[in-house]
Amino acid sequence: MLKAEHITKQYQIPGGGHTVFDAVSDVSIELGNGGVTAIVGESGSGKSTLARVLSYVERPDGGRVFLDGLEVSACGRKELRAVRGKVQLVMQNALGSLDPHQSVVSILEEPLRLLFHMGAEKRKQRCLELLDMARLERDTLRRRPDELSGGQQKRLCIARALATQPQHIIFDESFSGLDVTLKKQVLGFLKELQTELQISFLVITHDLDTAMYMADAIHVMRRGKIIETLEHPKSFSDFQEPYSQELVKAVRSKRRALQ
């Protein structure tokens, strides 16, 4: 279980002297084992900062993060390294987060070598398993990221995240900017994968439609705070807060036009 208590993260405003900006202020969130949670909010609402704190890429300025009882926000680099693989972050720009000089096989092998000290034979075996899990053809192994299609790149990022055998995967706007048919394909595949592996997913998005399609629980974030949480929402009308309703309006305006 990944648990964050009263997280605050501040940034210095460039050229603003000593004024600080609360990117995340006093946010508590709990991700169980298994299940899909979503955080919805617009650009600048603090979603990505929270994702970076939850995946202990950044330390919070206030509050604590626990992974199965271990306080990761207080751990040193060595201790963190041991649990690095447990929480994985998948980012928006697939091509930008893959090393352009490495082939698919070396991208997938790196964590196997560094985290699990696997031998060559075992690594090869595991790479093929990962490709199968991400529904990638086996002949992509020798290719480089730029030789893959957008959908394949996204799947490779997911395979790379799965390589560390994580308990939690955080998708930070991983699906925005994808073509609609591709997005539906990738989301559908992730739902299958989630049922298959029973790991927990945190989907961070500005798109309420994606959140409703994927998640069991939805947190709405605004100006660094979680302003509304819904468990098992059944309809867009379940949202109560005025700001959430603004987001609902955005989705519904397009729906209404389509009817």
């Binding site: 617009e42 650009s43 048919t181 500005h206 439609d209 036009a257």
Partner: protein, 260 residues
């Protein structure tokens, strides 16, 4: 008003055909949706209409007629009154559309050939009003910012405000909401809808049927450089004929209310 007939675009170097014999027209006050996914040739078609394709790299066939004039044959110096003034394109990526070394206020003035302090002050006033219209209330801050200091969503709205100020007859909106969040998308669509009601014609390039539905009367669906289906927005959406259109329609709504 705009008639594109049998337009084909081919790269000179690899002889690859990117757009194949595309025909459509946009009448006065009408909005046409050009729907398709990455690589379908929508953006190439838009750029061709704007004469933005380098003739040394691309072979263009067919015709693009604007109010009876052939635009593909037009000399570069004759394009001045056309580009920006009559037909204006809002590009896909706002981060690369602005000059990086100029503050936004400065570069926004450039297209309006302002003379003297008075015209400049007047323009700043109109600019502030246009920015407020796309929900950017702090005009002073935006005018004094460099492009890299603002987010993509903000820059896209600045671009739309700038287009509105130019009062073109036809706006080509190339995937303008793809890079912004849902709340900004809503504001941008509202703004474009207002322009539609004011009688501005549009070509809305998008992969999102929802965006097309809010703005367009007719849509043309593109795949691999060709138009595979064309018709009234509602008819194409509710009764798609082509298999690819059907896939697009199915993917355009993810969460079905009342079904879970």
């Amino acid at each position: 008003m705009l008639t594109v007939t049998n337009l084909s675009i081919r790269t000179k170097q690899t002889k690859e055909t990117l757009v194949r014999s595309v025909s459509f027209s946009v009448k006065n006050g009408e909005a046409l949706g050009l729907i398709g996914e990455s690589g379908s040739g929508k953006s190439m078609t838009s750029k061709c209409i704007m004469r933005l394709l380098n003739p040394r790299l691309f072979d263009l066939r067919g015709s693009v007629q604007w109010n009876g004039k052939e635009m593909l044959a037009m000399k570069l110096n004759e394009l001045d009154g056309y580009r920006g003034k009559q037909v204006s394109m809002i590009p896909q990526n706002p981060m690369t559309a602005f000059a990086p070394m100029l503050k936004l206020g400065k570069q926004m003035e450039l297209g309006f050939s302002l003379k003297g302090h008075r015209e400049r002050t007047q323009f700043r006033g109109r600019l502030a009003a246009a920015l407020a219209g796309v929900n950017l209330s702090d005009a002073e801050k935006i005018i004094n910012s460099y492009p890299h200091e603002l987010s993509g969503g903000t820059l896209q709205r600045v671009m739309i405000a700038l287009t509105i100020l130019q009062r073109p007859e036809l706006i080509i909106a190339d995937e303008i909401t793809t890079a912004v969040d849902a709340a900004s998308e809503y504001l941008i669509l509202n703004e474009l809808e207002k322009l539609r009601r004011a009688g501005v014609s549009m070509i809305v390039v998008t992969h999102d049927f929802g965006v097309a539905a809010r703005l367009c009367d007719r849509v043309a669906v593109m795949k691999d450089g060709e138009i595979v289906e064309e018709g009234k927005m509602r008819e194409v959406f509710s009764d798609p004929q082509h298999e690819y259109t059907r896939q697009l329609v199915q993917a355009s709504v993810l969460f079905q209310e009342g079904l879970c």
